[in-house]
């Protein structure tokens, strides 16, 4: 077993390798798409000469790997390049969008994670009771519906029927926090409904699988209350699997929100990605793809570190 800094260092190196592989795959993937940017911008009526000239101007006449290597070199030095479609700086374009996406993800996570862990513990405590079955059924139903379906149901109920929340989540950087939260209420609620089930079921399963262990029997034979056994004896030992599922879901909240952002016309990174793909705007696609991948790598690293910290054997070596 490596020491913690060594392990983190190794994972970081693997993470960078993964990111480079992913950027390469994105580049190849976009190259394989039919049509091109110049044609798309200039429209059907453009003459072949104009298209060719425009392609030269954008650098699209170069082979894809030359463009990829130039782009990678620039990216390493911090220059994300400019959008091919509207010539804006990509870093600036992505910056606000990423901020919005993280804001939405964070609002959902702050409610979803504690709620899921709490429900998981309660379900383990009242296992096989009506309460447990109700929770399981509800969370399983919400996870089984496609996100857009949950989103539209929420819109129909909470915005059309009762007009509690807006159905379009338009936020601007200068809005006060309260109004921002109000604006993202529905997309956040949609995400919560989708992610709670996973985390809650994992918490429940992890705790229940520990309930057969000898130290739980020991605690019971010491006459400890059942609630204390679950919270104090089982949960600390169930942390490792629970942390992994939580982090996977956090990653999902950041990168998996494309559909939800589109439904609620939310100005996040997912929308930008969808727009850029349809416009063949390669630099933007690559940059946002890398950010998504980077989020995954970083969050998984966090999960590994937290799992180690949750294990007393590794935290307190002999």
């Amino acid at each position: 077993m490596d020491s913690l800094p060594v392990m983190v260092g190794k994972r970081l190196v693997f993470g960078v390798v993964t990111l480079i592989a992913i950027s390469l795959m994105i580049a190849v993937g976009v190259e394989l798409l039919p049509g091109d940017l110049a044609q798309a911008i200039l429209g059907q009526s453009a003459t072949p000469e104009t298209v060719a000239a425009f392609r030269r101007e954008l650098g699209l006449d170069l082979p894809w790997y030359t463009r990829y290597i130039t782009w990678l070199g620039n990216f390493m030095t911090g220059d994300m390049g400019t959008s091919l479609a509207n010539k804006r700086e990509i870093s600036e374009l992505i910056g606000t969008r990423l901020g919005n996406t993280i804001f939405l993800a964070a609002s959902a996570a702050i409610v979803a994670v504690p709620l899921a862990v709490f429900l998981g513990m309660m379900a383990a405590l009242y296992r096989e009771t009506l309460f447990d079955k109700m929770i399981s059924m509800t969370t399983l139903s919400t996870i089984s519906f496609p996100e857009f379906f949950v989103a539209y149901i929420l819109i129909v109920l909470l915005s059309v029927q009762w007009s509690v929340f807006p159905s379009i989540s338009n936020i601007a950087p200068d809005m006060p926090l309260g109004r921002k939260l109000y604006a993202v209420a529905l997309p956040a609620l949609t995400l919560i409904l989708v992610v709670v089930a996973h985390m809650m079921r994992m918490t429940r399963a992890a705790i229940i699988s520990l309930m057969m262990s000898p130290y739980i029997e020991m605690a019971r034979l010491k006459g400890i209350k059942r609630s204390r056994i679950i919270i104090h004896h089982a949960f600390p030992n169930a942390l490792s699997p629970v942390i992994n599922v939580i982090v996977l879901n956090l990653a999902y909240l950041v990168v998996g929100v494309v559909v939800v952002e589109v439904v609620f016309v939310y100005p996040g990174l997912g929308q930008l990605l969808v727009d850029s793909v349809s416009k063949r705007d390669l630099p933007v696609v690559q940059a946002s793809g890398l950010i998504f991948a980077g989020t995954y790598v970083l969050l998984n690293l966090t999960a590994d570190v937290l799992s180690i910290l949750a294990n007393p054997r590794l935290r307190h070596p002999k």
């Binding site: 057969m212 262990s213 000898p214 130290y215 029997e217 020991m218 605690a219 019971r220 034979l221 010491k222 006459g223 400890i224 209350k225 204390r228 104090h232 004896h233 600390p236 030992n237 007393p312 054997r313 307190h316 002999k318």
Partner: protein
């Protein structure tokens, strides 16, 4: 307990595992429950706390504790009783301490949660008890996590934990079974002190009659969930009434006669200056300069406590852990260090049998498949020939063709180990390494296995390297003995030389630590060992 009946859910149906047992225990007395696995002794032990393991249910009889009927009490009443008036000491302290919390936090939990005393009172009492039970650094040891202390210390910490609320009854469930003999003595002494000084009643569960004899006033022998006999401990040891008890008393005295004797100079395996370490060269050294010779048709027993490196020696010989230094020579030919570089013929001639037959057999393979695999792997034997050979192998291990299509789950522990032996035999090996092959088995079953191994040696002239921590096994089967301590050989020689005076210092310690049937053995031993060491006053004073 009156006419206690408990059922367990096994093989898709409810089966009675305790069949109407009566137990009566007076205040301050110790009852020993003894029997083989499946006798229901553990189930009876925890039933005295009104507790049933998941998958079990009490179906009849009554359990009365100090006038209170436990079978009809509600959960809350039982909860308030447990940990305060009745407490429990489990077999494996390593598994029964919560790995996530410090020892002292687990010690104070029962007294604080039950409102017997506050946190600081409980902590200082805990430290006094740790001191009383001879734990090192009693002031600070409680701040450690369970994985940071040794097995024997952990077991004593659990005895301390059970004493925290000064209970009227402590249930000891095989508290020393998982320990080395030398460690077992420390824990037994701690338990005996605890019982004597607290004047608590106790139920002491064990499969080892000699251990039970040290602590109990009365002994109850159980078999298949029924009582075989009960009586005063001394009287029972001196004059058992039932055959079964006599069998328990006489285990491991038998030895199948050895027919072939090793011929001088017919060396099969030489281990020359072998060192090995985990984590590659520069890692933790586990073996240092081991040298030994195994003659054909001979049995060498490698004895040592846990951590002495005896299993690592087996791994080094088989090539699972390539040695960092030295060489393994088989019939004059030096073997490649790693099993990956050895050819099939070499692999065939050196087989291994493991401690846990449960884990060593693939649960999804039938006996036929388990035994057929080496036959087709080494000899290309398939179809009818293979089947006939498998039946022959089964007969060699005293089973028969009826077992062919059974899965490991349909076999008893002893039968599983026999199948493992047959698997090793299937390769027609010259040498078998037996790694603690009887440790996980009941004594009578283990005896059968030892006899079988000796018979097979007589018939097949196979050599054994027998790894064990159990000196009784060594006495029964070995020709030569290698005593190991901390990765080194401390003594090596013919059995009769090693096991008769003058002893090597460490061998003597090991020998003296093996419990004897004499109920005064522990007291005498402690008396001799402690010499003039002063006792630090009765435990009850430290508890106030």
């Amino acid at each position: 307990m009156q006419g206690l009946r408990i059922e367990g859910f096994q093989e898709e149906r409810w089966q009675e595992i305790v069949k109407g047992v009566d137990v009566e225990l007076d205040r301050g007395r110790v009852l020993g429950l003894i029997g083989e696995s499946g006798a229901g002794k553990s189930t009876i032990g925890i039933a005295s706390m009104g507790f049933c393991r998941p998958g079990c249910r009490i179906t009849g009889g009554s359990i009365t504790f100090d006038g209170l009927e436990l079978t009809s009490s509600n959960d809350e009443n039982l909860r308030q009783l447990r940990g305060v008036r009745i407490s429990y000491v489990a077999q494996s302290a390593a598994a029964s301490f919560n790995p996530a919390h410090r020892l002292i936090a687990q010690y104070v939990e029962a007294p604080v949660q039950h409102g017997v005393m506050d946190m600081s009172q409980a902590e200082s009492q805990g430290k006094r008890l740790y001191k009383r039970l001879d734990l090192p650094d009693p002031e600070n040891i409680g701040n450690r996590y369970p994985h940071q202390v040794s097995g024997g210390q952990l077991q004593r910490a659990m005895v301390a934990m059970a004493m925290a609320c000064k209970p009227d009854l402590i249930v000891f469930d095989e508290p020393t079974t998982a320990l080395d003999v030398t460690t077992q003595i420390e824990v037994l002494a701690a338990i005996k002190d605890a019982i004597r000084e607290l004047n608590t009643a106790a139920i002491y569960i064990s499969h080892d009659l000699a251990v039970v004899a040290q602590v109990s006033d009365r002994i109850m022998v159980l078999r298949y969930g029924e009582m075989v006999e009960i009586g005063d401990a001394r009287a029972m040891i001196a004059a058992p009434r039932e055959d079964y008890t006599r069998a328990l008393l006489s285990v491991r005295k038998v030895r199948e006669d050895k027919v072939h004797h090793a011929e001088e100079g017919d060396t099969l395996l030489e281990v020359r200056d072998v060192s090995a370490s985990y984590g590659g060269p520069g890692g933790v050294p586990v073996l240092e300069d081991i040298t030994l010779d195994l003659t054909r048709c001979n049995t060498i027993a490698v004895v040592g406590e846990s951590g002495s490196g005896k299993s690592t020696l087996a791994r080094a010989i088989t090539g699972l852990l390539p040695p960092t230094k030295g060489s393994i020579v088989f019939e004059g030919k030096e073997l490649p260090p790693s099993f990956k570089q050895r050819d099939k013929e070499m692999l065939r001639r050196l087989q291994m049998i493991y401690q846990m037959p449960d884990v060593a057999l693939n649960p999804r393979q039938t006996v036929q498949q388990v035994l057929g695999r080496p036959l087709s792997f080494y000899f290309g034997m398939e179809g009818k020939a293979q089947r006939e050979r498998v039946v022959e192998l089964l007969e060699q291990i005293e089973l028969n063709a009826r077992y062919l299509d059974r899965f490991p789950s349909e076999l008893s522990g002893g039968e599983k180990q026999r199948v493992c032996i047959a698997r090793a035999l299937a390769a027609k090996p010259d040498m078998i390494i037996c790694d603690e092959v009887t440790s996980a088995l009941d004594q009578l079953v283990a005896d059968g296995i030892l006899r079988l191994l000796q018979r097979l040696q007589n018939e097949l002239k196979v050599s054994y390297l027998f790894i064990t921590h159990d000196l009784a096994t060594v006495k029964a089967i070995s020709d030569e003995i290698v005593v190991m301590l901390n990765g080194r050989v401390v003594e090596h020689g013919p059995r009769d030389v090693i096991l008769s005076p003058p002893y090597h210092e460490y061998t003597e310690l090991l020998l003296a630590s093996v419990p004897e049937m004499d109920p005064d053995w522990l007291d005498n031993l402690l008396h001799t060992r402690a010499g003039a060491r002063l006792r630090e006053g009765p435990i009850s004073e430290q508890l106030t």
